[in-house]
């Protein structure tokens, strides 16, 4: 499976706004009454937003990741572009989270992990970069909302405070914190008191705070490890909207178990199975006419 250059998929831009509601009903019906006879050819992607795919940011070349010598990811190669949402899907244990965590070298923190192959960020080997510098450029949002036990302001400011001798003053940080919270769509809700403890926010707000924290430093790539799986449907919808807005500035790589979510937000989808990157294609193509048998089975099984 080689790296594929994403094409523009104009059809999704043509989906009329009025249809969106119908489509939601339709997919719920599918869930309740089982899969429709043919694979969901008839339902166009739910998203009515154009793709924004820009220049390549990150490239993975034959990346394998091992735990105690056993491969969890086998020779995956792909590229990540500015302005796209790349979804990694696949059954539990297929290596998608491991692959994601390799992109900002979090797998290194597991003592028995090792890797082969190369990953470049804007042409530089990420293993040659300092880990802290890399992670400032490739930041991450986790499955569990995990704000730090400090104020809302400090949570975002924590990301902004460089590892410098001198602590920047609050006055210098304030506009940046505000901007990050605005981009994460949280500012309006918390503007009246940024000094509130972050753990007092609701789950969905906490996750948006984590997103604000992750984008505060203007990273080039945002990794998301099932960011909505601990949230209710309403918060999930808010965060999905947010992801679609954020991708204009950066590349988003998202691991999700929720195929509907991948359909809603992804520009490209990578299907992984037992450590193999089985298929990587434009979202519409992968869901509607998968080339690989395993992809087809997984999508059909998960829909049924």
């Amino acid at each position: 499976m080689g790296a594929e250059e994403p094409g523009l998929h104009a059809p999704c831009a043509l989906a009329p706004q009025g249809k969106v509601g119908e489509n939601v009903t339709m997919s719920i019906n599918q869930l309740v009454f089982g899969p429709p006879a043919p694979l969901p050819m008839t339902s166009p992607p739910l998203r009515a937003v154009d793709t924004l795919t820009g220049p390549e940011r990150m490239r993975l070349q034959d990346i394998s990741v091992f735990y105690d010598g056993v491969a969890a990811v086998k020779q995956a190669s792909l590229s990540i572009h500015k302005g796209e949402v790349l979804a990694l899907i696949g059954p539990s244990g297929c290596g998608k989270t491991t692959l994601l965590r390799t992109l900002n070298r979090l797998t290194e923190l597991t003592p028995n992990a090792s890797h082969s192959g190369t990953i470049t960020l804007d042409g530089d080997d990420i293993h040659e970069l300092e880990d802290t510098k890399l992670r400032a450029r490739v930041s991450m949002v986790f499955q569990q909302p995990n704000p730090f036990p400090m104020s809302i302001f400090d949570n975002v400011a924590f990301a902004l405070r460089e590892q410098s001798r001198r602590r920047p003053r609050r006055r210098e940080l304030e506009p940046l914190v505000k901007q990050a919270l605005q981009r994460a769509g949280l500012y309006e809700e918390v503007a009246n008191n940024l000094d509130r403890p972050a753990l007092r926010l609701s789950g969905g707000q906490q996750q948006r705070l984590c997103i604000a924290r992750a984008i505060a430093n203007n990273p080039e790539i945002l990794l998301m490890d099932e960011p909505c799986s601990a949230l209710d449907p309403r918060s999930t919808a808010v965060i999905e909207d947010l992801i679609l807005q954020l991708r204009s500035d950066l590349a988003v790589v998202i691991v999700t178990h929720n195929l509907q979510q991948a359909r809603r937000i992804a520009d490209r989808v990578a299907f992984m199975y037992l450590g193999d990157l089985v298929e990587l294609a434009d979202a519409r193509e992968l869901f509607e006419s998968p080339r690989e048998e395993r992809t087809r089975e997984y999508i059909a099984g998960a829909f049924g």
Binding site: N146, P149, A214
Partner: protein, 332 residues
């Protein structure tokens, strides 16, 4: 508002109940009944014992406690009217408690941080862990006698003073405080270590994923949420320090009065010998030389008040710390 929906103002229509009928104890298995009964008896029994101690000491203590005792220095006299109060032991107790806790707490916290967050090489972390367990299991009289041998070494003369013969005396507030920190250290260490281990991994990773170093993560993310654990450990340690008698007798000299050495005022005091409330209580108990049980009761009551007060204060501080960051930072 639709008809049939209750109006908000008229909410308590039905009487509120807290629960429903439960299974009767008689229908339980014998073993379950026994454990249930024992749980009640043990819990209530401990309450009775604890309140008996407090009430006994309060009655005896208040009976003999003359405020003058708190501010008069003790002196050796056969006539109890002239033997003074326990100002010096009171100061001694507070000094050793402060000294021991101030040494033990930072040491315990950074050791726990190293073991949990770094802990490499693993065998070294294992040795550190075992050493602390060993210190925890060592009776304080053994720590005391080791400390005496230790602080009588020539190089430790600055910690106490040289006796007239030229030998190092080895007994002082500094020597006692340092050895007392050893008996508090394992408690603070264990509490901090357990607190660190209870912080989920993804919280650390959230910080690493923002490009933060391990040490920045420890200082800004982990330690603030450990405040209640550290406070609990420090309180337990404080209790052991205040109650320790063996170390006072061997390493503080257990002189009735605090006798400062020459030098700067505070340094001289710390290099000198003295006593604490436990050693004063022992001295004045029927088993000791003073044999003035009334004063022993009064001192015991004061000691109890100090311990309870410190427990309350530390709990309070850690609650304030915890509510500042809300929760221990371990939710989810």
């Amino acid at each position: 508002m639709a008809a049939g929906e209750p109006q908000p103002a008229a909410l308590p229509l039905a009487p509120q109940r807290r629960g429903g009928r439960r299974s009767s104890v008689r229908s339980w298995r014998r073993g379950d009944q026994l454990i249930y009964a024992l749980a009640w008896i043990a819990g209530l029994g401990l309450c009775v014992v604890a309140s008996a101690i407090v009430i006994f000491l309060a009655v005896k203590g208040l009976q003999y406690l003359d405020p003058k005792l708190l501010v008069t220095r003790p002196s050796a006299a056969v006539n109890q009217a002239n033997s003074g109060g326990f100002l010096d032991p009171l100061i001694g107790t507070l000094t050793t408690a402060a000294l021991g806790t101030l040494i033990a707490t930072p040491l315990a916290v950074i050791t726990a941080v190293w073991v949990v967050e770094y802990g490499r090489p693993r065998w070294l972390a294992g040795i550190v862990e075992t050493s602390i367990e060993m210190i925890a299991g060592t009776p304080d009289i053994v720590i005391a006698i080791f400390g005496l041998a230790f602080f009588q070494l020539g190089i430790f003369a600055p910690f106490s003073f040289r006796a007239s013969g030229g030998g190092v005396y080895g007994r002082s507030f500094l020597a006692a405080g340092i050895m007392m920190s050893l008996i508090a250290l394992p408690l603070t260490y264990t509490a901090t270590r357990n607190g660190l281990r209870a912080i989920p991994r993804h919280r650390r990773e959230a910080s690493y994923a923002l490009g933060k170093t391990r040490i920045a993560t420890i200082r800004r993310v982990l330690l603030p949420s450990l405040r209640p654990d550290i406070a609990t450990g420090a309180t337990l340690g404080l209790g052991r320090i205040i109650g320790s008698t063996a170390i006072v007798v061997l390493l503080l000299g257990a002189t009735l009065q605090n006798i400062p050495q020459n030098g700067a005022p505070l340094i001289g005091f710390l290099r000198g010998t003295g006593s604490t409330l436990p050693s004063y209580i022992f001295f004045n108990s029927p088993a000791g030389e003073g044999n003035a049980p009334q004063k022993a009761y009064a001192a015991a009551f004061v000691l109890l008040i100090i311990v309870l007060g410190l427990n309350w204060a530390v709990g309070r501080i850690s609650r304030i710390g915890a509510s500042a960051s809300l929760s221990t930072g371990r939710m989810s």
